[in-house]
Symmetry: C3
Subunit: 152 residues, 3 copies
């Protein structure tokens, strides 16, 4: 066990994976922030304090800013989870530290940029390219993993 | 390999992670249960047996109970997945068993309570607080992980 | 570390987990493909090139094929993620290679079939059964894991 956390590649993976997971988690509070500032909720019990029935109904309507934050969060789930799965196995398959670091850094940078591009609605294709870059990084790790350990 | 599963912290992580993952998986059948009892489906092929075109259309409409179960499931994905990622790396970083157990237990309890609060529509802020508690537990593990292994 | 990737069960897990993760990731490009061929996007900035306001509005409407791909992707997240979590811990708990292989192969086959069944709208209950089979495989691994390592 101690040996895992003495391995430089695994320590680097743990660090970048933690950063990118925390970034993904932050999308939760960002959505909550938009819910309160835009007054847009999903559940009856979340607007129970509001006594005016008219206002209550309005507060249960979707708001584009909340939906944008949710799409950004969802895109993180779709991309950061595969990075973690593939990256963990890749880190355990004994890659060179320098090459592993390039993968971890490019992925982390691409997803941080992606979130800004999504929330702040940067002109395309900035968001599409950061999405693609992150995905290609994960594909590259998967390729390196599979040529090392492939057993069916 | 044997050494991992001889480590008390890792065994505890494996146990709590399995419980919380099974809890998350159960949201699938819960949603299916609401689909059948409320008669609300998403796909044409799921209602193919219904020959009455009018009834078929009705069965393809969203139902609030199904949507509530889906939101609960989705919230699990957004919170239990980061717990697994951070918790796995944290468990490998050599924490004290007693402190690790507090994290695993508080998180597991908070998410089980959260599901009941969501599905049964408990008055707020019960659901919000259990969401927050689970998130803070994961942040605490991430903090402890990063001060142990941080390498960029 | 080297010991993990010398273990036959862990290598098999890494291989099947990588395949099934790549399959899940491919749902992203599949959704993008439907977005472009059906002309259905979610964000204003994605349709910025379109100057005709009427056409722009149409391009921001949901399309059933895009939504179907998204539901398929979402179902993958709900099922492949628990497989990875439970499967990783199960692979570390020292199962027999032959029994582990049955689990990994049945799960992988069931999810590949599930995607075809979803995207091509096979008649039910083909999709439901492949969903159930994958879930039962994960439950079986969870059961075997918990009887080996259970510590609360």
């Amino acid at each position: 066990m101690a040996t895992l956390m003495e391995n430089e590649v695994f320590k680097a993976f743990a660090s970048y994976a933690a950063i990118v997971t925390l970034k993904m988690m932050l999308m939760g509070p960002v959505t909550v922030y938009f819910r309160f500032t835009r007054g847009s909720f999903s559940n009856e019990e979340d607007v129970a304090k509001e006594t005016n029935e008219e206002k209550k109904k309005k507060m249960l309507r979707a708001h584009p800013d909340v939906e944008r934050a949710q799409r950004c969060h969802h895109n993180d789930l779709e991309n950061i989870i595969p990075f973690f799965f593939i990256g963990l196995l890749y880190a355990l398959s004994g890659p060179k530290l320098s090459i592993a670091l390039i993968h971890f850094r490019v992925f982390t940078a691409s997803r941080i940029f992606h979130s800004f591009a999504y929330i702040l609605a940067f002109p395309q294709p900035s968001r599409a390219l950061s999405y693609l870059l992150g995905m290609l990084t994960t594909f590259s790790m998967a390729f390196n993993l599979l040529i090392t350990v492939f057993v069916l």
